[in-house]
């Protein structure tokens, strides 16, 4: 099973190469992968139906209890079949739908990557692995929704989907970790088989809320449903796949998976039923308002997702049977309807039902397929949707609090019948209406029709032989959700009973509503202001609030003043550490220290240099004073027998002083920008840190929290690490990983400094910043500046010091024309001379500009 997931990822990986050769036909080749996997999963049906569960163990990070173990039971199998089966059809469909789109290979890669992630999600046994796949589906779906990335609307929708699902994912991670800590294992199988009940645990409520946040955002439950209709900005294959059969059902999958363990909780039942019912009603209501085919379908998907959540919440055996059947039925007809909506859009040029009409003559096959799929959506026999709807109504009537939920379900089913009629009849009957000319509208290529045909036929066949489908596919899934073997069967004809009557009522009322749909829709416009204040408003308000908070805290903390940063960091450090020190430890004053005379002198120099650095009025003076401080510290290191530290300190100090001197010229002139009060405040802050550090050192001498590890290091330095210099042994052996990290940091810092200097037009005029790459123009020197040999440097130096006059130097050069060495050098440079001259002129200009810039920044510096 791990292999199955891997195969899909590998297929995604090789797609770009295949695409170079086969163009849009790549999709037809790639469809073979999920097709083969569908067959492979299908071979497991008899065993799974017989009650077997396949477990394939595979360790990933055993130390953290994270494994890639995968489990195939009834629920996973049904999902796997849907993912691979519908996936095959979608890949075929995408091949034709996006034919000629240059980004088609990117699309296929992401689509296959999504498929692999989704398959991993439903097979994973480990909570963390499940979460990883969960987030992978979020990320791939972000890229799929934003596939038309030139469109601002698509980008916005993709980002919205990502933020909502990933925010939920974060909550989910908390929930999963809490669940694992409660149950004592990250394995779902072990959690489900744990004998103790988790409902009594103090963390239970928090865990449940976190889990549900994750599942509800992913599965577009009220009040997070708004991202799903917006995600319709995605190309149709994506909507058909992600937003009908797979990704949005991930949340439902998780709920179903954990139902056996958590279903006993009263809170679970209440939350799932109420949010499910609310989502169902919202979806149905919003669907009736819409006129865009894809929006109609999206809202009816939200309704279906709400129904599924509701069924899990009810939690009776009948509800479990209905859950699996409804899930299967919905995936079949909704996938087909989305693809068909895409065909209508593709061929007729619009998805708005008010702009379409009479297409049945041009698209006869499409019209029939839509009609049959819509019958399944409306729940009309002999389609599988009818079987599922009967079971749903039966489960409602059995359920605990059926009175108010029952009303919701009835209203929703009436609306769904209306929606189904709108989809099936509006675009295809009546007078011809379409943005495209009538003669241009014709049936799409076979690859696009294959998917809807297969899915519609499956709906029909499953409706005719529901018993077989039930026994082989949905009942094993119901067993997995219920946690025991459910007693029930699927049938088309349950006899004349209450559900059938209710079905009849809802169909009649639904059709009636369809007749007056336009008037109804106009009446509903009264509610528009209320809808505009829906949960999506909350999302935008939240996003604005994030930006506002970010702006506010940046203003306070990141205001660009170096001294402000330092003060903030230092004061926080003093506050936290000081508090801990005072509250936990006792200070012992220990003045009884022997100090030698030379130690007094060193400390005296140190203090004097530090004070000098603070009060000096010249930059160079402060650099020198800082250097003196550094060297005194190095001296102290050496006095207290840490030669390595001492050497390092001296070298670093030397290089720091050199660096400071180098940048000294760049700094604006020395000026006093702070008032006396500010200086006093800064002095207080500095004193606070100094005193704190002093206390820290005194306490580290006084208090020994742990056995020091230096003993171990000293003992084993030579025997284990073959080195007598413990400092170096620590650096390269005991703590080599730290050192490795440090040299990487050092490298990054050097790159940062380099970039800062070279990217700055003032210091590096020739730099080319095109496309984010740094391409430095080769620095061209004027001929007179080129130094060919050390000898010449010597000459130049003498010249500068007026030991040899400039004229003499030139004469000397011309005299030495016969000199062999000199001539070869000169000739090699002669070749470049012409080129050089033009470059030199340009360089002069650049220099001028650079100087101006520098002068300007100097002035600005003074002003501020």
């Amino acid at each position: 099973m791990q292999l199955a997931v891997l195969v899909i990822y590998l297929a995604a990986l090789i797609t770009p190469w295949l695409f170079v050769q086969h163009q849009h036909r790549t999709a037809y080749i790639m469809a073979l992968v999920p097709a083969a996997l569908t067959i492979w999963f299908a071979t497991h049906i008899p065993m799974i139906a017989g009650g077997e569960v396949f477990i394939q163990e595979y360790q990933w990070i055993p130390g953290l209890d994270i494994s890639l173990t995968m489990v195939l039971d009834g629920l996973s199998l049904m999902f796997a079949l849907l993912i691979c089966g519908i996936g095959t059809l979608i890949v075929l469909y995408a091949g034709a739908y996006l034919k000629g789109n240059p980004a088609q290979n990117r699309f296929l890669v992401i689509l296959l990557a999504f498929m692999g992630s989704m398959l991993g999600l439903v097979l994973a046994d480990n909570l963390i692995t499940l979460f990883v796949f969960w987030e992978l589906t979020s990320i791939t779906s972000y890229m799929l929704i934003g596939f038309n990335h030139q469109s601002a609307e698509a980008r916005k929708a993709a980002l919205q989907g990502l933020i909502v699902t990933v925010a939920g994912g974060l909550a989910l991670l908390c929930g999963l970790v809490m669940l694992a800590s409660m149950a004592g294992s990250y394995s779902i199988q072990e959690i489900l088989n744990t004998p103790e009940t988790l409902t009594e645990h103090p963390l239970f409520v928090g865990m449940l809320i976190c889990l549900l946040l994750g599942a509800f955002t992913k599965s577009a439950q009220f009040p997070f449903h708004f991202w799903l209709p917006n995600a319709m900005a995605a190309p149709t294959p994506v909507s058909a796949y992600l937003h009908s059969a797979t990704m949005v059902k991930a949340g439902i999958y998780l709920l179903a998976r954990l139902q056996p363990e958590l279903g006993e909780s009263g809170l679970w039942t209440v939350l799932l039923s109420s949010f499910g019912a609310m989502t169902m009603l919202t979806g149905a209501f919003m669907a009736v308002r819409s006129t865009d085919l894809k929006k109609l379908l999206a809202y009816s998907t939200i309704m279906a997702l709400g129904t599924l959540t509701l069924l899990i919440g009810i939690g009776t055996e009948t509800a479990m049977i209905a859950f699996a059947a409804y899930l299967l039925a919905h995936s079949l007809y909704k996938g087909a309807l989305f693809m068909l909506a895409g065909i209508v859009d593709h061929e007729a040029g619009s998805r708005d039902v008010t702009l379409l009409g009479g297409l049945r003559k041009n698209l006869p096959l499409t019209a029939i397929l839509v009609a049959v799929a819509a019958l399944s959506l409306a729940g009309i026999p002999p389609l599988f949707g009818f079987v599922a709807k009967e079971l749903l109504l039966e489960a409602m009537l059995d359920g605990a609090f059926h009175s108010f939920i029952f009303v919701f379900v009835m209203v929703a089913s009436i609306f769904v019948v209306t929606v189904a009629s709108v989809i099936a009849l509006r675009p295809f009957f009546g007078a011809f209406k379409a943005p495209k000319a009538e003669k241009d509208i014709h049936e799409p290529p076979k690859a696009m029709l294959a998917g809807p045909i297969v899915l519609v036929l499956l709906s029909l066949v499953a409706g005719v032989i529901p018993g077989t489908v039930g026994n082989w596919v949905t009942l094993p899934a119901s067993n997995a959700v219920a946690g025991n073997v459910v007693d029930g069967y699927l049938a088309l004809w349950h006899g004349l009973n209450l559900p059938l009557l209710l079905s009849g009522i809802s169909i009649t009322l639904g059709l009636l509503l369809f007749k007056y749909w336009d008037t109804f829709r106009n009446r509903l416009k009264v509610l528009d202001p209320i809808i505009a204040r829906g949960p999506e408003r909350g999302y935008f308000w939240f996003m604005d609030a994030i930006v506002w908070v970010a702006e506010w805290q940046t203003h306070i903390l990141q205001n660009g003043s170096m001294r402000n940063y330092l003060r903030t960091i230092v004061l926080v450090f003093v506050g936290l550490t000081g508090y801990t020190l005072i509250s936990r430890y006792q200070l012992h004053w220990n003045w009884d220290v022997d100090l030698y005379f030379h130690e007094f002198i060193t400390v005296g120099i140190l203090v004097a240099a530090a004070i000098a650095a603070c009060v000096t009025r010249s930059r160079l003076g402060s650099v020198a004073a800082m250097g003196a401080v550094g060297f005194s510290v190095a001296l102290i290191f050496i006095l207290f027998s840490a030669p390595d530290l001492g050497i390092t300190q001296i070298l670093v100090e030397t290089l720091t002083v050199i660096l400071l001197v180098l940048v000294l010229f760049r700094l604006p002139g020395f000026s006093n920008v702070s008032t006396t009060r500010e200086r006093i405040r800064d002095a207080v802050v500095a004193l606070l840190v100094g005193v704190l550090i002093m206390f820290l050192i005194m306490i580290t001498i006084d208090v020994q929290l742990f056995e020091p590890i230096s003993g171990y290091m000293i003992e084993n330095s030579y025997t284990l690490a073959h080195g007598r210099n413990i400092v170096n042994v620590i650096l390269v052996d005991y703590r080599a990983l730290d050192t490795l990290g440090e040299i990487f940091v050092l490298a990054l810092a050097a790159m940062g400094v380099y970039a800062m200097i070279k990217f700055n037009p003032a210091t590096s005029p020739g730099a080319n910043h095109y496309a984010g790459t740094l391409i430095l123009e080769e620095k061209k020197l004027a001929e007179k500046d080129i130094i060919h040999s050390l000898e010449e440097i010597h000459q130049k130096m003498l010249e500068d010091q007026n030991i040899i006059s400039v004229g003499a130097m030139n004469n000397r050069n011309s005299d030495e024309d016969g000199d062999e060495e000199q001539e070869t050098l000169a000739s090699s440079y002669d070749e470049d001379r012409d080129h050089d001259d033009s470059q030199a002129a340009k360089r002069l200009e650049d220099d001028e500009r650079g100087k101006k810039d520098a002068a300007q920044s100097d002035e600005e510096g003074k002003k501020s």
């Binding site: 050497i647 390092t648 073959h722 400092v727 390269v732």
Partner: protein
């Protein structure tokens, strides 16, 4: 193209730089038993090149170094990473030190080891990083 230097600096640099570089290698190799090591040695070498830089300017120093200091960083990190893996192939934890002592004729023991390789990596990275900054700053100054 170069800063005005003094003849003392110029003469001293020509003699000191090779000595300093040699000393840095000495520090690098003895580091495991006596004060020294890759980091210190790298700083000494960087100091040597900086002296040269101050005396003769950036272009000549680049010429002396032969390798672009930026590349030196990469080489250093790469060598540092190389020392990580031998232990992994032995089934031990990453970075566990491996020793391959070789007896040279004359009774001298040459202790080849991954810590030594690692130290060389540190050395090159330190030289590269310091010189990248120094040369970049000097070049900005010279313009």
């Amino acid at each position: 193209m170069m800063k005005p230097g003094t003849i003392i600096l110029y003469t001293a640099a020509r003699f000191l730089v090779p000595l300093q570089l040699l000393f840095s290698v000495f520090l690098l190799l003895r580091g495991h038993n006596e004060p020294g090591g890759g980091f210190i040695a790298g700083l000494v070498a960087a100091g040597a090149f900086t002296l040269y830089l101050f005396t003769f300017g950036a272009a000549v120093t680049r010429d002396l170094m032969r390798v672009d200091p930026r590349n030196l960083i990469g080489i250093g990190l790469f060598i540092g990473m190389i020392s990580v893996f031998p232990a992994a192939f032995q089934g031990q934890a990453f970075l566990t030190a491996q020793w391959w002592p070789i007896m040279l004729p004359g009774g001298t023991e040459l202790k080849l080891s991954t810590p030594l390789i690692f130290d060389i990596g540190v050395y090159l990275t330190v030289v590269g990083a310091t010189m990248t900054m120094m040369i970049a700053l000097t070049e900005a100054e010279e313009r």
